[in-house]
């Protein structure tokens, strides 16, 4: 077991290096480089000559006048030695600060999403498996899939627009800190969180249903039935535990979605999360923020996956550690 853990942790390093190299190079491939944008947006330039002069000044100031491998080297040394992800090209603030400000928001939204998804998907998934092809199964599954089929931005817009017309209510446009007003804070995240959770609930539900169905066909379940155990015992004590294992993996797969995928809801509900930062930075070609942000997301996801893999290895007696 210990060897397995060590092996897994060591394997992260090449993955991370590959990932950071990929991020660094790929962001600079986006056409429409940042300096051109700055020069063009600066407005009235009179001649190409003065454009070029301005361009050189900006390049120098932003540290973009050195070759790309030098930039990469500087970036990596900055991270390893100082934990410094660089400075935003447009905003002139440390990238670490920008990310840290947004991380709690994305986290809170993600937690709400995950909890909602679980509340919807677990009961329906289990029920659908035990009572396969019954009316309840159909209603439950239809509901879960209907949740998934309505795009998040559509539901989000409906929730923002129509209550404002019918009841004069709209979601808060100001960030309410938890310390000042816990209820308001929770309320602000609840609505986009629920919509986010609804989107992923369908997938979870179907996966859980499949694994439950699979498990219910195992021999040991048939043994339990024939022993005369009540349904509740069979389901809870034998089937559910084993069916949940793959679902843990699935939840792990949802984390990337929750970390980066709430862009749409963050935009509609005025939550400055990491997803929105990424979109704005991609539009503005702010390389340092994009690189730093994607790297942070990658590290977070790798870490979560590691935890899940370890939990899986610990819980599932069938897993071989080779």
């Amino acid at each position: 077991m210990r060897n397995y853990i060590i092996r897994r942790v060591i394997l992260i390093i090449p993955t991370l290096l590959l990932a950071s190299l990929a991020i660094f190079i790929v962001t600079r491939l986006i056409p429409g480089d940042v300096i051109t944008q700055m020069v063009a947006e600066g407005g009235g330039t009179l001649s190409r000559e003065s454009d070029e002069a301005t361009r050189q000044m900006i390049e120098q100031r932003l540290g973009l006048d050195v070759p790309i491998y030098v930039q990469f080297g500087r970036w990596v040394t900055g991270i390893v030695l100082h934990g410094d992800l660089g400075t935003s090209l447009w905003r002139d603030t440390p990238v670490t600060k920008e990310i840290l400000q947004r991380f709690p928001i994305t986290l809170e939204l993600g937690i709400f999403g995950m909890v909602t998804a679980m509340i919807i998907s677990f009961p329906i998934g289990i029920y659908s498996a035990i009572r396969q092809d019954s009316a309840g199964d159909y209603i439950g599954r239809s509901f879960a899939i209907a949740c998934m089929a309505a795009p998040a931005f559509w539901v989000g817009t409906l929730v923002v627009v129509f209550p404002s017309v019918w009841w004069g209510w709209s979601p808060s446009i100001d960030l309410i800190p938890f310390s000042e007003d816990p209820v308001g804070n929770l309320a602000q995240y609840a609505i986009p969180g629920v919509i986010l959770g609804m989107g992923t609930a369908g997938l979870n539900m179907r996966y859980l249903r499949t694994t439950m169905l699979e498990v219910l066909r195992q021999d040991y379940i048939r043994t339990a039935w024939s022993k005369g155990l009540g349904e509740r015992m069979v389901v809870m004590r034998h089937a559910l535990k084993n069916a949940l294992l793959p679902v843990i993996t699935l939840v792990g797969l949802q984390i990337p979605v929750l970390i980066g995928g709430a862009v749409i809801l963050e935009q509609i509900f005025c939550l400055p999360g990491m997803g929105r930062l990424l979109l704005d930075s991609a539009r503005a070609r702010d390389y340092t923020i994009i690189s730093g942000l994607v790297l942070t997301m990658a590290v977070a996801i790798l870490f979560v996956n590691l935890v899940i893999d370890l939990a899986y290895a610990y819980l599932d007696p069938r897993v071989q550690y080779r």
């Binding site: 990932a19 986006i30 239809s142 998934m148 499949t210 066909r217 990337p256 994607v294």
Partner: protein
């Protein structure tokens, strides 16, 4: 004395369809929806009363009427025609992207699982590195690089979900590889391609079909999300996601029909394909065969008829 229960022999395909309709009515309904979807897409040119960008009315934003059953949008284009053509774009994007994704997943995951060892180790590191980026992040960056366009969207989606989905065929192949008959094939001297083709593939097929049917609705939804962010199939080509996220949202209060129709179309199609996919999985997944479930259903049915006599 209990008579031997004889079963009429039917072809596998006919058996499948019959079971689909009898045991899984919702799935059958989903299948009908899927077929309608495909039909609309293929015959869009004949079904649509007007061109997809034809501005039939000078002033648009009207609700349903006899001339335009679903109303017109802000540029005076017929919404019904745009929805029909939108089906075509959705079909192309989702089917081609899913095929691409499943192909990539199978090749990458299947070979990785079958050969194992160093190849597997290195390949999985690449896949890990790929998977630690949130999907939307990769799409945003990729879409910014390649620019808007239907084929760009297809390739981005196919590549993204292909690589991240490679785990599934891989674990299926690993599971099958452990079976005795694979060893037996090797012992009698089957070459690798033959082993792959004749022994591994048929057993993985079920998993692949399920993967396919679950991915298709996902692709449609992801394309809708990309359109909202401005990175999807560019206008004026109508896509349901695009119609919802741009015009539908902007004119939501003046002409709600512009948001309702594409949304309904999207929801119904996603719902139908998902239900159909679920039914397929229930019927085809080898791990779901037998056991209390199906066996129980069959036996109960027989007993009822027997006892009822």
């Amino acid at each position: 004395m209990v008579e031997a229960i004889t079963e009429k022999r039917r072809g596998a395909l006919a058996d499948f369809f019959l079971r689909l309709v009898k045991e899984k009515p919702l799935g059958a309904l989903g299948g009908v929806v899927t077929l309608l979807f495909l039909f609309t897409a293929i015959f869009a040119d004949f079904l649509a009363p007007h061109g997809m960008n034809e501005m039939v009315e000078v002033v648009g934003l009207s609700g349903p009427s006899t001339n335009y059953p679903l109303g017109t949008d802000q540029l005076g284009r017929d919404i019904l025609s745009r929805i029909i053509y939108g089906a075509r774009v959705s079909v192309i994007v989702s089917l081609v992207a899913t095929t691409l994704a499943v192909l990539i997943s199978t090749i990458l995951g299947g070979l990785s699982g079958f050969f194992g060892g160093k190849f597997d180790l290195v390949a999985q590191r690449f896949v890990d590195a790929w998977m630690c980026f949130p999907g939307l992040v990769v799409l945003i960056v990729a879409a910014s690089i390649v620019g808007p366009g239907m084929w760009q969207v297809i390739i981005c989606l196919g590549l993204l979900y292909g690589i991240s989905g490679s785990r599934i065929p891989r674990s299926a192949v690993i599971g099958i590889k452990e079976n005795v008959y694979v060893d037996a094939a090797r012992v009698i001297g089957c070459s690798t391609p033959r082993t792959l083709y004749r022994h591994i593939m048929p057993n993985v097929m079920a998993v692949l079909i399920i993967l396919f049917t679950t991915r298709v609705p996902l692709m449609i939804l992801v394309e809708a999300g990309l359109s909202f962010l401005g990175l999807g199939v560019p206008p004026p080509t109508p896509t349901w996601g695009g119609m919802l996220s741009t015009e539908g949202r902007r004119y939501m209060l003046q002409n709600p029909w512009m948001a309702i129709w594409p949304g309904l179309a999207l929801s119904i199609v996603v719902f139908g394909i998902s239900m159909f996919g679920d039914a397929m999985r229930d019927l085809l997944d080898p791990r779901l065969r037998g056991g209390v479930g199906r066996y129980g259903v069959k036996v109960k049915a027989r007993l009822k008829t027997k006892i009822g006599e």
